[in-house]
């Protein structure tokens, strides 16, 4: 019996990429995980060799070669394929996916196009003042959590990096900082705040407008301290602006409560402008609470290879970018793709029904470690060794810090990179012959 203990393991669940996990392995099986949240533990414990998705072509078990050949056949016969997902796999696999997309003149997109993508677009308009999570831990004396619920989506974020963390100039941790939560309802996260501002849904843009005006000492015609802005009295917003200006190192952690509600990228453009303007008084920063562990990495790789972070189309042999036109959801709704590679994501769980229905009607290749909601109907299903458990590679944390994920146990299947590479080789062979 071989027992081994792996330390400083990087968790591959959310964009926090906690890198202090302890994993105990016995006979190539993960027995115990320490320093981990419930979600991370479940992910690691569940993604083990005995839980792999079946290897299948059209519902029948097959060899890897059969699967690769069928995938290559589907893709070479398609006129307008899409490669979609990549948010829970390595940068190395992402890079191979971009190369495959280029070879196929395909579209390529990742889930950020409907999660934090609006924030990415907002940055194209106004930029962003941001910092790494260690700076939040060491310096932040004011944290504003807006439209995010890290206690549920990034369970260790508060302890490791932000609200509760003890840092260089905030040695007392929670006691050393002010915390404000802004959301449409009380959450587990807002319970950790000194001030909770419960706002009406869809009012974020209006609120930020008022905050920017207050920060600039502009007169707000027709508003008194009692007037409600987004369901909260103006006096409270005034107080928040004073807190922001009085802080030494303020940080806004924003979530999809802001990117997906009315206003979308305009909400983010507005809040990033507020953060920018506050830098005239003090230091102020914003950090998007990225969800899938390497969704940032899928943006990063796409950017360095094509110049664009999401919604890229190689139809003309070079990268073009147009969110809303080449975004996965719009392309599916408009039936503009005729085959799909789904990798390291689950559109059937994330995308509105109309898109899922169309996806079901076209040839689909699924590359994922375990079964998900696409598995039952995908034409080709290829299980892979999960990144950070069965294969190593690079992930980008929500604050752009890259970390190398480790391989902990052996899997009887290839990695995402190897699968994409094998399909690419076959496609390339067909195209060149």
């Amino acid at each position: 019996m071989t027992v081994s203990l792996h330390q400083d393991v990087v968790c591959a669940f959310c964009g926090s990429l906690c890198d202090d996990l302890e994993v105990e392995v016995e006979n190539n099986e993960i027995k115990k995980v320490k320093n981990v949240c419930a979600i991370g533990r479940n992910k690691i414990m569940h993604q083990q060799p005995h839980n792999m998705a079946p290897l299948r072509v059209n519902g029948k078990e097959c060899s890897l070669d059969d699967a690769y050949n069928e995938a290559a056949r589907i893709l070479t016969e398609a006129k307008a394929p899409i490669i979609y997902g990549l948010s829970s796999t390595t940068a190395e696999a992402n890079s191979e996916a971009v190369e495959l997309a280029e070879l196929l003149n395909a579209a390529i997109d990742n889930p950020s196009s409907y999660c934090h993508g609006p924030g990415v677009l907002a940055r194209q308009h106004v930029g962003m003042s941001t910092c790494t999570l260690g700076e939040v831990k060491n310096r932040a004396d004011l944290i504003v959590i807006w439209g995010a619920n890290p206690m549920e989506s990034h369970p260790r974020h508060f302890n490791q990096y932000s609200v509760m963390a003890k840092g260089m100039y905030v040695p007392d941790g929670r006691k050393g900082r002010k915390v404000v939560a802004i959301d449409v309802r009380p959450t587990m996260s807002s319970k950790n705040a000194d001030i909770f501002l419960q706002i009406t849904p869809g009012s974020d843009f209006e609120i930020i407008n008022v905050l920017r005006s207050l920060a600039k000492n502009l007169k707000l015609e027709g508003l008194t301290d009692e007037s409600l802005v987004g369901g909260v009295p103006l006096a409270n917003w005034r107080e928040l602006v004073e807190m922001m200006k009085a802080s030494h190192y303020g940080v806004v952690l924003f979530g999809i409560g802001l990117t997906q509600s009315r206003g979308k990228d305009l909400n983010i453009e507005h809040i990033l402008s507020l953060v920018d303007e506050l830098n005239r008084y003090t230091r102020f920063y914003a950090i998007p609470m990225r969800g899938h562990a390497n969704v940032n990495g899928s943006n990063q790789v796409l950017v360095w290879r094509t110049g664009f972070p999401l919604a890229v189309n190689f139809y003309r042999g070079y990268p073009r970018f147009n969110p809303g036109e080449f975004s996965v959801f719009d392309m599916l709704i408009r039936k503009e793709v005729d085959a799909a590679v789904i990798i390291a994501t689950d559109p059937a769980a994330h995308l509105p029904q109309a898109a899922v229905k169309y996806l079901q009607s076209i040839p689909t290749i699924l590359i994922d470690p375990i079964e998900n909601l696409v598995t039952p109907w995908a034409n080709v299903v290829i299980p892979v060794a999960p990144a950070g458990i069965g294969t190593e590679g690079t992930y980008y944390r929500m604050d752009n810090v890259p970390l190398r994920l480790k391989k902990i146990i052996d899997f009887p299947c290839p990695s995402d990179y190897e699968v994409l590479h094998a399909i690419k080789e076959r496609v390339s062979h067909v195209k060149n012959s």
Binding site: E102, H125, S129, C131, T132, W304, R305, Y318, P319, F321
Partner: protein, 545 residues
């Protein structure tokens, strides 16, 4: 095996100036004889043959470059490359995507490039991108000028212990990041920015340890010297871009006399002040100093009119630029180490300030007498894209052309500059020096920048043309590792280059008390910090001196 015949060879390191000389190439190197005379022959009649160009300071890979690409799609829409059988597609003008960056350098005859500013914490990212930047040998400079551990050590009382500990930390940072050189950016100034304190000068005490930029620069310059690193301290000094900063620049140079230092993008540091507080050129004062101090090298950071994307670890400078221009702005503080700022820019000949900046760069190039002391750069993409090098070469080689451009500048430009009076024209030898041989020497790369036996067969062959911009814009051939990769300005092959790193002697571990600091204040585990070997496809250790 390959032979280049009938070319006029410019190999300044070996004293070869335009002579007809055969070059024999085998196994990626220049050799003195070939076992098989029936090899491929390149007829370089009517051509100039030079070593491959060496980029000493450019921002081409890593977190800030990629953030800039992502922020500026408008930079990419009209500038793209379609995929070919051999090459990948790409987009971008001032901030091209990785493959396109490699191809663009290659099609100018450049074969080596250094990314000039990388935080150790995010070095993995830069290496990932360089892996996908083909046809270039490359390396990164590791940022240390605002590093917490370095500032902490410099504040310690015990002088001997301090020196040893500084060596340890610099070695640890360099080898963890797989870096090539020690980079300092606005020492102390970035830390001060995080405290919302103002601009720093040489002797401003900086929180939290109250040491000064002078302490930081001397401490690190001394360490670079004692570790015998192949490249000197790569210094982006304090007060970049501030009117009247040449005083600080000269003070900094004086403070660092006797140490190996490379002053980068010096154009931005040669700013004088008129009686009315306006910008004037102080290139003469800076050049005069350097003319009497041959131990220092610099690169110019020449302004190019048109779009640019400014990006630097000098976050306070970038915030000023953001406020000045109103253009969009990325700022990124990096825990324990540094910061970064990005602002897109447009340099216009009709804007007096820009016109003076443009003149200052050229004045430095023309007034510094020894071409071995100054390297051609645009601090890409800060002062302009590297793809403008051919145009700058023409400005240096052709004074009529230069004067014709001066005439198009803001009419008051000549009141504040001396460029029009300068008649010097660069020779091809001098161009070879400032684009290949001088950077090779400054970087301690003994197999690059020349064409002697044993040198790497990185070679550029340009058709001799009167218009030097056209000549250098479209080489007839470029060879990388002895393979033809560019033919008539078109990239015909694509493969990965080597990664250049250093391995100074001695411990590469962090001292125990700092291991504790690391655990408390970084947001990653120490064991996850160092860049793993997997990120370097073809590593090559360049020996210390």
């Amino acid at each position: 095996m390959l032979k280049i015949v009938n070319g006029q060879v410019y190999d300044p390191i070996n004293g070869v100036i335009g002579e007809g000389q055969e070059l024999l190439i085998d196994n990626g190197k220049i050799v003195d004889s070939l076992s098989d005379e029936n090899c491929q022959i390149i007829d370089a009649s009517g051509c100039v043959v030079m070593p491959g160009g060496i980029e000493i300071h450019s921002h081409i890979a890593g977190p800030k470059v990629n953030s800039a690409r992502s922020m500026c799609p408008e930079d990419h829409y009209d500038h793209f490359m379609i995929k070919t059988q051999k090459t990948r597609s790409g987009t971008g003008y001032t901030i091209p995507s990785t493959y396109m960056t490699g191809y663009q350098y290659s099609r100018l005859g450049y074969t080596t490039a250094f990314e000039a500013a990388v935080p150790a914490l995010e070095a993995r990212h830069a290496h990932e991108e360089l892996k996908e930047t083909p046809l270039l040998d490359s390396g990164i400079y590791t940022l240390m000028g605002n590093n917490y551990m370095i500032m902490k050590i410099l504040s310690e009382k015990d002088e001997v212990g301090r020196r040893e500990r500084l060596h340890d930390v610099v070695r640890w940072l360099l080898t963890s990041s797989k870096g090539y050189a020690v980079k300092v950016v606005n020492p102390g100034g970035v830390e001060n920015w995080k405290w919302n304190n103002g601009s720093v000068d040489l002797d401003t005490p900086v929180a939290p340890f109250r040491i000064t930029p002078r302490n930081i620069m001397i401490g690190l310059a001394e360490t670079v010297k004692e570790l015998k690193l192949p490249h000197g301290l790569h210094l982006h000094a304090n007060r970049l871009g501030e009117t009247g900063n040449f005083v600080t620049t000269l003070e900094t140079m004086k403070a660092l006399e006797g140490y190996p230092v490379h002053f980068t993008h010096l154009q931005f540091y040669s700013y004088g002040l008129t009686n009315k507080g306006a910008l004037r050129s102080a290139a003469r004062e800076i050049a005069e100093y350097l003319n009497t101090h041959p131990e220092f090298t610099c690169d110019v950071g020449q302004i190019v009119f048109g779009p640019a994307t400014t990006m630097t670890a000098d976050s306070p400078m970038q915030f000023r630029l953001h406020q000045l221009t109103g253009n969009k702005w990325i700022n990124a503080d990096v825990e324990m180490e540094t910061g970064a700022g990005i602002v897109p820019m447009m340099y216009k000949p009709s804007v007096l300030f820009n016109a003076i900046q443009w003149c200052i760069g050229l004045e430095l190039l023309l007034l510094i007498k020894d071409p071995w002391q100054i390297v051609l750069t645009t601090d890409h993409p800060n002062a302009g894209p590297f793809t403008s090098y051919p145009q700058i070469i023409r400005l240096l080689m052709d004074s009529d052309y230069r004067n014709s451009i001066i005439d198009q500048l803001h009419p008051k430009t000549t009141q504040f500059t001396n460029l029009k009076e300068l008649k010097r024209e660069y020779t091809l030898e001098e161009i070879a020096i400032i684009t290949r041989s001088a950077p090779a020497k400054a970087l301690g790369l003994t197999k690059k920048g020349h064409l002697g036996v044993g040198a790497e067969a990185d070679i550029a062959i340009y058709k001799m043309l009167k218009n030097k911009e056209r000549m250098f814009d479209s080489p007839a051939y470029v060879l990388k590792n002895g393979k033809i990769v560019v033919r008539d300005g078109i990239v015909i092959d694509s493969f990965a280059g080597r990664r250049l790193i250093v391995e100074p002697d001695g411990s590469k571990c962090l001292p125990p008390d700092l291991v504790k600091d690391f655990a408390s204040y970084y947001s990653v585990a120490l064991s996850n910090f160092a860049v793993q070997d997997e990120y370097l496809l073809h590593p090559e250790v360049i020996p210390c001196i």
